[in-house]
Amino acid sequence: MRNDTDIAIVASATTPVVRHTGDTETTLLLHAITSALEPVGLTRADVDFTCAGSCDYISGATFSFVSNLDAIGAWPPKRDSHVEMDGAWALYEAWLRLHHGDIEIAVVTGSGRSSTADPSLIYPMEMDPYYLAPLGVDPVSFAALQARALIEAGKVTERQMAEVAARSRKDAVGNPSAQVTGDFDVDELLEEDYVRAPLRRHDLPPISDGACAVVLATAQRAEQLVERPAWITGLEHRSECHNPALRDLTDSPSTRLAAEAAGLRDGPVEVAELQAAFTHEEPLLREVLGLDDSVAVNPSGGALAANPIMATGLVRIAEAARQVAAGRQRTLAHATSGPCLQQNLVCILEGDS
């Protein structure tokens, strides 16, 4: 038994993640929320608070999250919030809201249809409007600059990056929500052309459509609903300055600070789901988080296998919680936002021993 004030993840669901879906974002969310609630015997009427993460720039409609509310069940009226961020930050808000102690069940969502437009034309508009946006510096170009910085610093090689891609795609084979899966030969991957040197196609995440829903519950309800709740024992995020040119790209101090604050060092973790959308980010995050080879990193295949932007980070938390439900004792989830790992969130999940 945990303390009454503890909060757990009791269920989650991710839609199939694909390059193009004919479904609207609302329909994706409708399916994700229903699929998360039904197996634990909840209905939308049981939900006290909802928080969604999505992005108007991706959907191409102002206040697009308002129509997404149709998936939540508007009646009876419920407390609701939205963050223009990955659903991992929506989960952070829901976790804070449950700590008020007056409500018991929250649903968190993340959703995005990246197929609606060209991501390389959308994301430069989120950059510094004076010095960077007018140049159209796209996220893959920034990732490539970070990859080169890490290679020059001797922290990673192009071969190691290809190995991360091959391992992720192989691990994703059993994941029904994965988009890029299969057996790939590292030598063959290394023969491909650069998309942005030193990044090749396999170093990049796929462009994906998809949605994820996660159900949080306070201690008593959590123990009634499931046999093995995934208790959130630490949840923190930290941010760095926006312009990657002003940061040391061979380090991620915000990840380190968030992990320390979340209590990562209080014990070992068995599994880490990291939002490493580019191959070189995984070894950097492993180093900063102090994860040795005994930790299974991204057994789901991670963001390299499926990258439904605005849900990708929340999916990491859902996967880490699923590992606890399946018997793991302590797992870690990481989510990131902004160019070159600008802002980072760390979530520690634990099962009852």
């Binding site: 149709d70 034309l121 960077l132 007018p134 796209d138 600059l145 030193p198 002003l246």
Partner: protein, 329 residues
């Protein structure tokens, strides 16, 4: 694969620059690159705040460059429409002479093999300089800046205080099966709706789900809606001439409550009624496009239904029910 509808959204931003960015942009017009002193270092391009502490920086600006050293780079084999060059180029971090932090810009190096950490580069200046980061077209290999022939580096008459940035994105949205059926029905002059199997509420067009019960609606839930109703509410829009606005005269958008069902269509076009004469209670009927004028595509506005042009008065006496305005959606 669903049919896709393309639309282009443009955001014409005008940004005020403030004292630091403004001074930097004014410098560019004069072919000068400015940095700012911060904790014994020089940040170029300059920031208003110390990136490490968030403290406001004094406007202690210092000229840097124009040449510099590439400290990091990547190669762009296929430029996008937003990029500064239309042929393969490098994005690079360039530490300008006299600066301590790198400047992100393009390098026109010809091919990837010409790029290397430590290479020296200098700006290629545009002839027409407006005070934006694109006044530097790109950097080029070597020590010498490229300056258009006959170019003067006179100060602008007024310091640069504003910056324009026209953002533009093209979206391709799928048309759902429900919307396609509503659209097809409109070609037969039928107003298609859907009825929720849980609460019995009806929705016009191809909405695809009941927002009250959060259940999906499909073809089996389709119903034909009545094509007569009453204006239950209205607004007169006086167009503001923002970029892209095509309306010039005040126009109305009305809410139509359909007869005998619990459906209100929002923001509809009312035909043949001067805006000053519009009032709740006018009895109306659906007006459909002829085959020749039919709109073949549907837009992104909810409830936009292909061939439905708008609503036209029937000539019947007004509906004087006192509760007309009570039902909004």
């Amino acid at each position: 694969m669903a049919r896709l509808v393309e639309n282009r959204i443009q955001f014409p931003y005008k940004r005020s620059l403030g004292p630091i960015f403004g001074a930097f942009m004014t410098g560019l017009v004069q072919r000068k690159i400015l940095g700012i002193r911060c904790d014994g270092k020089v940040l170029a391009p300059p920031l208003e705040w110390n990136p490490a502490t968030g403290d406001e920086l004094a406007p202690d600006l210092v000229e840097v460059g124009p040449a510099g050293t590439v400290v990091n780079w990547t190669w762009v084999p296929q430029p996008t429409e937003q990029h500064p060059l239309d042929h393969p180029f490098a994005f690079a971090m360039i530490r300008l002479d006299g600066a301590d932090t790198p400047f992100v810009h393009a390098v026109d190096a010809g091919n990837i093999d010409a790029m290397a950490e430590g290479m020296r580069v200098a700006p290629r200046w545009k002839r027409e300089r407006l005070g934006t980061i694109r006044d530097i077209e790109c950097f080029v290999p070597g020590e010498d800046a490229e300056i258009p022939e006959g170019d003067t580096n006179e100060a602008p008459e007024e310091p640069v205080t504003m910056m324009e940035y026209d953002a533009s994105i093209t979206y391709r949205n799928p048309v759902s099966e429900n919307a396609e059926r509503a659209n097809a029905a409109s070609r037969e002059k039928r107003l298609l709706g859907q009825q929720c199997p849980v609460c019995g509420r009806m929705y016009a067009g191809g909405r695809g789900y009941c927002p009250i019960d959060a259940v999906e609606l499909t073809e089996e839930h389709d119903v034909d809606l009545p094509q007569r109703g009453v204006v239950s509410n209205y607004t007169i829009v006086t167009p503001v001439q923002y970029p892209g606005q095509t309306e010039t005269e005040p126009f109305a958008r009305v809410f139509v409550r359909l007869d005998g069902v619990d459906v209100v269509l929002g923001f509809q076009n009312l035909i043949d009624v001067p805006v000053d004469d519009i009032h709740p209670g006018i009895r109306v009927a659906a007006m459909w496009a002829s085959e020749a004028e039919r709109e073949e595509t549907i837009g992104g506005i909810r409830n936009a239904i292909g061939g439905l042009v708008g609503w036209i008065p029937t000539g019947e006496p007004d509906d004087t029910s006192p509760d007309l305005l009570d039902k909004v959606l």
